[in-house]
Assembly symmetry: C2
Homo-oligomer: 460 residues x 2
């Protein structure tokens, strides 16, 4: 709807109050106008709502993820992007089956469990054994094999909720390392406290891989209230036995990255890559992880396209198969990792407000990085590092030396929802989503270079 | 631990600050002292923690509820109560089996569903049909049979969260009436929006009965996010088909009320009945519904007993089989309904702070009702009606004309948890739980009459 409006017209259309506030001379007025008008964005909501409603869950490599790619191609084409295409790749697929956990003694009762990615299958009969508990992966590592052999391991942790999401790496160790260590010590199964910060009966799934030759064993996550309950039962001091049923199966499948572009005026210049991931875990509808991310990236690119033609090409990538090991990012890197990119960006931390911008554009582009910070400040965004940026799928390419910008979302409630059935559309706050789009539009407007306004019919 | 301390000694032991605040002369100092010391209560937490940990879920008529009665008898005996006994009764039992809901077209995806009590069993193959949606039971009632026949009905509503819990009656109509009406109009199944106020993927179960000769059909509740999703899908305007699997079975079982007493000095006087219900729904551990209630009632009685001997007998009743139709209350009424009771009280609305006291003691006991209000005011409790009181199991006896007192808990978040897997111990706030115990202890101290302090050994 802004296609025929110039940035100047948008500025003039701003509220009377805004007109009375003198703006920073350090921010390009066209950039500021694009930023402010994006606070009324509807594109991102429409994408997130459409994807989560019309496709729903879309686990990597499944038929549902294939439907998501078809949906994405149709949607990106309808939005008017160019060069819409899928780059496909093969991958092994793991899907969950029936799952349950049950205390057999001393206090018989069900617990709520979800299998972790790549869990071994228990078969329909499950495994039953005494539970041996550890407060950390370090405690599990230190245990003699005899303490673990033939038992079901439980690993606890105390993950906090933090604005910057810090702790997911450290406190996620039980999920990532626990199953392999438990298997190597002869455990018949493992349950970990969910890597999450909520208190609902929704376990947090997530990827893990049996490495170093460890035999796959059933590996699940208990919800936080169930982990609390198991601890209370253990503290009674009697032997605790558990039955764990975690069925699953694996097969060879296919995924792909969906790519679309806003062609730049100078195709010889390296593109600006903006991204999120299209796949989701299977229990929610992947709204905050990462329906919001693909929506924000595409909405910002759409807003630039609506306002005119940028100098540099903007390349939207909706990665496939991120959750199961950044497979889409690896495929993109294998195909395009040697090509220059002007900057890499990825939105994959929900839809709550962006509070910090980090960048890694190099010392020769410090002024550009500073300009980004100045332009974002009115959105309540602090300027962070000039030497780092991050992203999940783009992480390896950033590590290779490609430049990037990181827009950090408030993660305080992110790990309440992450990898659970509760990751649904209602958890996206439309107002905060728009702040995200405004921040991305701002950064894109700067990185993609001066936008040439479309020719308009003369006024009558 | 207060057994050998007099109320006066407790008062003297209060904090220095409290000693500097002049108290209302309208409140008996012994009552005030019992009230204030109850703010340090540990009994209620221990009961709620023990019951939910060592028994867990305890559906009416099941082996788990029988274990809960055995646990209750042991606990009430250990606490020193007298005449601990079980009054047993028979009842038909319904238990859930496998359950799932799935959109088959136009956007295939799973939805989260839970069977309602007494749902018909779909069998393992489930039922598949087009969905027909109504915004209310009234809309369903008004529909021609032809609109409903052969279809799966969905009934929506817009239940709000209110401090006094109002709305559960009105907005619970889809659960209570929907299945019967849908069946009578020829529906093959029904799903209702959960009668709940949260936004988690936890459906709210609850009782319903097929009446007026209606054939049982599969009847379930979708979680609120799933009801939202179904509405979004319906609004796309294409026919929506759903597969609904709700297996269940029924059998003849037994339940019972667990009763214990603090004997009064005058056994000829009518008892004060304090109660909650021991059974719970099957998916949570029945912490707020109603582990907290039985804990609060017994803790308050224990505190009176610890302080001396009341004039009137305090009778604790932990009702069985409340959730499935107030069966325990009906049994108690059949056995004891003709006997005089000095007052009936029941705690069955969670563990958040009590904000209002209502009573129905009769005009000749207005002064007693006013004294209760004065004594509760320092706990932040407003005095409400003098002509009404309520309670679930005790409701029919109150309607018969028995006197009662109602201590109203803050229900703002109650229907976030009610009848869901999320009803677990962590949802009980220990500080608010103690305020409940303080209020109940206060009311019991007044209703059970002057407490005679135990004889103590002379000071050396």
């Amino acid at each position: 709807m802004f296609r025929t409006l110039s940035a100047a017209a948008l500025l003039a259309a701003a509220s009377p109050l805004a007109a009375q506030v003198h703006r920073s001379p350090l921010v390009d007025p066209k950039v500021a106008a694009l930023r402010d008008s994006a606070l009324q964005d509807q594109y991102a909501w429409d994408i997130a709502e459409g994807l989560t409603t019309e496709v729903g869950p879309r686990l990597a490599g499944t038929e549902a993820e294939a439907r998501a790619r078809a949906w994405a191609v149709k949607k990106l084409t309808a939005l008017g992007f160019s060069n819409v295409r899928v780059e496909s790749f093969d991958l092994p697929v793991w899907v969950r089956g029936r799952e349950s956990a049950e205390i057999l003694a001393p206090f018989p009762q069900p617990l709520v469990v979800a299998a972790l990615g790549n869990s071994g299958s228990s078969g329909p009969g499950g495994v039953s054994a005494e539970v041996v508990a550890f407060d950390s992966v370090d405690a599990l590592k230190a245990a003699p094999d005899g303490t673990v052999r033939g038992r079901i391991v439980f690993v606890d942790h105390a993950m906090p909720a933090n604005q910057d999401g810090s702790g997911y790496g450290q406190f996620g160790a039980p999920r990532r390392q626990g199953p392999t260590i438990a298997s190597q010590k002869g455990a018949v199964g493992i349950v970990v406290r969910s890597i999450g910060t909520d208190r609902h009966r929704n376990p947090h799934t997530g990827a893990q891989e049996f490495s170093d030759g460890a035999r796959p064993i059933p590996a699940g996550a208990l919800s936080n209230p169930d982990a609390d309950q198991l601890l209370r039962i253990l503290k009674r001091g009697q032997p605790v036995t558990m039955k764990l049923v975690l069925e699953s199966r694996t097969f060879a499948g296919q995924s792909g990255n969906v790519i679309a572009e806003v062609p730049g005026r100078d195709p010889s210049l390296p593109p600006v890559l903006v991204s999120g991931h299209l796949d989701s875990w299977d229990q929610g509808t992947g709204a905050v992880d990462d329906g919001a991310g693909v929506a924000i990236a595409a909405a910002a690119a759409k807003r630039i396209m609506d306002s005119g033609r940028p100098l540099r090409t903007i390349r939207i990538v909706w990665f496939g198969a991120e959750e199961v090991g950044l497979v889409g990012g690896q495929d993109y890197r294998a195909r395009h990792g040697k090509e220059p990119h002007y900057a890499l960006l990825e939105s994959d931390f929900g839809a709550d407000k962006i509070w910090k911008v980090d960048s890694k554009l190099g010392t020769e582009r410090k002024a550009e990085a500073e300009a980004i910070g100045k332009a974002l400040a009115p959105l309540g965004i602090v300027t962070g590092s000039f030497t780092e940026a991050d992203g999940s799928d783009i992480g390896p390419m950033l590590a290779d030396g490609h430049p990037g910008v990181g827009l950090g979302q408030d993660g305080t409630r992110y790990f309440d929802l992450h990898h659970t059935p509760d990751d649904t559309l209602d958890k996206i706050d439309p107002v905060q989503l728009r702040q995200n789009v405004a921040a991305w539009t701002t950064v894109l407007a700067i990185l993609s270079g001066p936008i040439e306004e479309p020719k308009r019919p003369k006024r009558r």
